[in-house]
Symmetry: C4
Subunit: 242 residues, 4 copies
């Protein structure tokens, strides 16, 4: 199986005033044959806003890192942010979470150059492709951080995951072609079956958190008997109403 | 494997005064050959009551949504509600949770008609069928929201999940035949293997929450040494007593 | 694969003053060929004590129940209880948790006789056997609630899980032979693949909670920088010390 | 598949002032053919510091233990510790967690000698190897607690997991060769398929906690709208910045 995804990312802030949040999904091989280029609210950036909420999200530093001969690779979950509904009656996902992969090259024995790190943020659906990889499967994801801006196509990132021929693990590679900086980087980190198992287990654990679904829990809600104020009947969808 | 389930839903409120809660399970192919048409307390609606508790359940908006050429599909967990026991000594599931699937058609490039959305609420057991689907399996669920009312059979909903022939994902279709409105809708959304992996992982995560089992956790209980008041010995069942 | 477990349960309270807690494991086919009949602290009962802590554990009522033509079956997790260490510096599992299965027969169409219910409490290891069952596997567990008392052998319970021949699910049967009451009961409930998937997913979710491992979480511990008082160096085992 | 890992452990405290934490990974068969001997901050010990934080980590006693004819084996998760960032704006993993395995021999019928216990602390990656073991796979891990000290090579520990020939479970063996004490111990515990399923499920559950990823949860963060103070822009990495 070869999975190929193409995530087109908007660099401008998408209004989330609509009732639904566009999901961070885009791919070249649409099963209906369409060319739908999906909107992605997950990575919309708003300058100051990002700095503010970003700092909240990044407060825990517990990356899973593998150090190899030529480079290092770390995984860190980034949680979504929420905004209050104007009705005052709920929270809605504002910026979706992701699994941040960081690659940085070795510059000597057990020395690594953090300044040369390259980043790739896996969306929920890309995590889905990642955790469903079989031992002989490979996959590749493409990101264009500048899509739909005047710089579209200037920076192209591609993450590929390929199995070792002897089945003992995978090669994980990040390629970054930056026409603006006239640079081209490729960092490859081999991971063992055991390390990959950690990544898959940890990503499966983190996925619902990245989606914001850890908020759907009985523990966080008002106790039984409490009266919710300002019920907005527009929001109450029941299967039986339609 | 072809799984076929038929959930008969009561539209009236079932009394939960009994010690046990009827589970949301019904299916055509009963292994004992019976024609048992199971009661389902999960979706019982009580007008005002539903509005009140529904608003509590719906306060988090973090759907997983896939936008495709002809339609969009979102999944959102809906948590159960609890009522206090009359003895004051516990909580019992009142309305069971579900996984709400929403379908709405495209009406142009990247434009979708939210007003035409159709809903289908997967019960715990239907989620069980969903998450155990293999790559070549299909399944179909049937709901009659008006069952056991004078409108029984007037609205028939059917959700089907069928694999792509090339193994690259699934078609998820919702058909709604509404004799009252003389309408017939069918919305199909193709999902990739990666998107389906997200749905399965997220549904597996959400299932215990939908069942109310996230309440069974050491953290929520009184600290060791605290005295529970009003112990109701009727409720204390031990294997060794019988 | 046919797994056969035999859990011998002590009916007297086992002292837990030792540093380790005997685990609820016993089985006929010991891989070393021994006949070790394991101690089981999990179900030790202490009359009043059980009533007191039992009421804490049973305060949530969210069973997963399947109603079939001839009988009904429900699963409910039972959490462990903890006692404070005498040093005041920790909590130790006192009574281990289990997955309580309850069976009760039908006495008419959609009518069930709760008074005739029979119970079987799956230990952590029996849950392990349950969740690792493949589609064609079967297993059987044996319990003697009165083991090591003068009534040993008087009551014998056996739970068996066998696949349907067409692979569409399992038969779950509980047999109870009670020589004291001169009674012999056998209740069988067929479960579909979907229902079994719910049970497996829910049991996998519940297992760490039943073991008390949900207590091992960063969130519950003192904040960084807080000083733990009364450090008991006896308890601090490091791999490097031995 | 035969997996062989070699974890080299530093006995001195590693400075964690760098932005990244070296991960507890080391193995003989580096896929790139290198001989990279990875640093491991996870088990660094700092005397008093360890005692202090260790007592916090060890406060819950809920081991999963199997008692067999010749020896007993228990598993207990050990959580990581965190330190506050100097900026006051976050927490960073200080000491990584592990899965502590303890072996102790039988000295009679149902009597075990706790004083002769031997310990082996599985790192995150070793847990990854453990939980991805298939029914016919085996694996072996090597630890040298004194590596990079003058006592390097004096104590060698090796944990091996091998399947029973009939597929009914595994043998788990710990060998400890201590040249300083002129001692050589080998303790083997057979575990059934059911017991191994408990270990795998429990280790999969515990892995994210051991990695500190249970801290990445929406519930622990400031409410939406709260202002984080002292945002350190150095820490805010976005995929789009590089």
């Amino acid at each position: 199986m070869k999975t190929s995804l193409f995530s087109s990312i908007l660099s401008r802030r998408i209004s989330l005033a609509e009732i639904f949040v566009p999901c961070n999904v885009g791919h070249l091989r649409d099963a209906l044959g369409g060319h739908a280029c999906m909107r992605n609210a997950a990575y919309s950036t708003g300058g100051q806003n990002f700095a503010a909420t970003g700092s909240i999200m990044d407060r825990i530093f517990a990356p899973y890192t593998v150090y190899k001969g030529k480079a290092a690779l770390s995984l860190t979950p980034v949680l979504p942010t929420f905004t209050k509904l104007e009705s005052g009656n709920g929270l809605r996902v504002d910026r979706r979470g992701n699994m941040m992969m960081k690659f940085w090259p070795a510059i000597g024995e057990r020395k690594y150059d953090w300044e040369k790190r390259q980043l790739f943020a896996l969306s929920a659906t890309e995590i889905g492709a990642f955790i469903s990889l079989g031992p002989t499967d490979s996959c590749e994801f493409f990101h264009d951080p500048s899509m739909k801006t005047s710089n579209a196509g200037q920076v192209r990132k591609s993450l590929s995951i390929k199995p070792h021929q002897d089945g003992s693990g995978y090669f994980i590679s990040l390629s970054v072609v930056n026409n603006l900086l006239k640079s081209m980087d490729r960092i490859t980190v081999p991971v063992t079956t055991a390390e990959f198992a950690v990544m898959k287990t940890a990503c499966s654990f983190a996925l619902p958190h990245i989606m914001g679904w850890d908020r759907y829990t009985s523990h966080q809600r008002p106790r039984v008997g409490e009266n919710p104020s300002k019920v907005n009947p527009q929001m109450l969808d029941s299967e039986w109403d339609r």
